[in-house]
């Protein structure tokens, strides 16, 4: 029987994220300012997001390097396994091959920390102390709280005030 799990090593964690804006056959319709209904400029978004994320929002670079500190946190659970669902295939009596990418192995249990960790990292670099967000069933809120704790722990002696806090609405 073929392998059940196809595992990558930590060295094989991708070095960059892929930005599809570089390859879209037609450009994405612009984001508009809610009052003027004209395309937003970076300064409009600055009260909400760190500049690095605003740049990523509009970048047309195909590959954007993953910062080292983010990769260090990714290593806690990445690469995630890819597994072949042999038993499901057998139960369905199908000739199809079914592969599952399993994102449930992260500490909060979903794919959400992939971006939470990056977002907290860029916010912290800009000196932000507190992050607000919304969460529905809680996957996102728990991922952001987790990411906050990852970078807060690095702030030795700044416990409390200096620690990144996330407030979830």
């Amino acid at each position: 029987m073929d392998e059940k799990k196809i595992l990558l090593s930590e060295k094989e964690i991708p070095q960059s994220w892929y930005n599809i804006l570089a390859d879209l056959p037609e450009p994405l319709p612009p984001v508009l300012h809610p009052a003027t209904k004209k395309p937003v400029c970076p300064d409009d978004l600055a009260p909400l997001f760190p500049m690095e994320l605003i740049k990523q929002e509009v970048s047309t670079e195909r590959w954007i390097e993953i910062p080292g500190e983010v990769k260090e946190v990714y290593k806690i659970w990445r690469p995630t396994p890819l597994f072949r669902a042999h038993r499901l295939e057998k139960a369905l009596n199908t000739p199809a091959k079914i592969y599952c990418k399993w994102e449930g192995v992260s500490p909060p249990g979903s794919h959400k920390p992939n971006t939470a960790v990056a977002q907290v990292y860029y916010n912290k670099k800009e000196g932000i102390k507190r992050i607000t967000t919304e969460t529905g069933a809680g996957q996102w809120g728990s991922a952001l709280a987790y990411a906050g704790s990852c970078f807060g722990v690095g702030n030795k002696g700044l416990y409390g005030k200096g620690q990144l806090q996330s407030k979830t609405l």
Binding site: V31, H33, L169
Partner: protein
């Protein structure tokens, strides 16, 4: 946190508290947008759109505070591409490539993060025949029933306007719906690619998604998040089609998370308490009246 979930699903809230975050049920009296909604409807169960308004308002009012969004925006999808890039690398190792890529969509981040590195090859023409399927709940049918137009990302209309398929920014999901994926809009990148026909969309009913989740749990073992069960439904449907047509296609699915904190939804399903619900077209029409005219 959306109030209905705050009360019904305490475990993720407790996780947030363990990691040092403060979690507030929304609508809350802490913000102007929350207060307004509570004045109109003190028992409002809350929605993602309302919670976004409150979180954005709080961030704008505090200098040391930023806002963070867990889906929809381009940079969120960008970070999630690590999923698809890893999947592609792993398949390369065994010399395989998918014919069909499947993921569930709410705001679009797990689906896009998984599918975009493969859609790259479809756009370039290298894998013209690749089929990419986004699966959404029939009770929140953004791509399959919403129109493609500019709308706000939140209920109060504080966010910029995004061009997306939308059910209207004041959409409040039907409480019968158990399986997440409740956002009124969709990531602009996903909408754009759907509009350009690089992506197909399917709406599935909740009973058939839990049935798929149970089949998966009984064969592969993992009890997945109810959101993921939407994708598994379509994987099973496609695998059955392969059997009927005698075609050995390769299907790749993103299993976006485990369902350890969603057991009450499974309990309701096993007890026969869940019902199917298709979001009615009239409701969509009604909600769209409040969507701003741009073009």
């Amino acid at each position: 946190m959306v109030k209905v979930s705050y009360n019904q699903k305490p475990y993720r809230r407790i996780m947030m508290e363990v990691w040092g975050a403060k979690c507030v049920p929304s609508p809350s009296p802490d913000t102007e947008s929350g207060k307004k909604i509570l004045e109109k409807d003190p028992d409002c169960p809350g929605s993602l759109g309302i919670a976004i308004s409150e979180a954005v308002e709080d961030a704008v009012k505090h200098n040391d505070t930023h806002y963070s969004l867990g889906s929809v925006l381009n940079h969120v999808l960008l970070h999630q591409t690590i999923i698809g890039l890893e999947a592609k690398k792993a398949l390369e190792k065994i010399g395989d490539y998918p014919d069909i890529v499947v993921g569930c969509i709410g705001g679009g981040s797990n689906f896009a993060g998984f599918a975009l590195p493969f859609i790259k090859d479809k756009i370039s023409g290298e894998r013209k025949n690749l089929k990419v399927i986004a699966v959404e709940p029939a009770s929140c049918p953004t791509l399959t029933k919403g129109p493609y137009r500019y709308d706000f990302g939140d209920s109060a209309g504080l966010t910029p306007l995004l061009k997306m398929y939308t059910l209207g920014h004041d959409f409040v999901p039907p409480p019968v719906h158990a399986g997440g994926l409740r956002y009124h809009g969709m990531a602009p990148i996903v909408c754009h690619l759907y509009n350009l026909k690089y992506i197909e969309a399917r709406a599935v009913h909740q009973l058939e998604t839990f049935e798929a989740g149970l089949t998966f749990a009984k064969t592969e073992g993992f009890i997945c998040a109810p959101e993921t069960d939407h994708a598994l439904r379509v994987v099973i449907d496609e695998a059955i089609k392969c059997r009927e047509e005698g075609k050995a296609r390769t299907i790749l699915v993103n299993v976006s998370g485990h369902g350890h904190f969603d057991k009450s939804a499974y309990e309701a399903y096993l007890a026969g308490k869940l019902k199917d619900y298709a979001y009615p077209q009239e409701e969509i029409k009604k909600a769209l009246k409040n969507v701003p005219e741009v073009e």
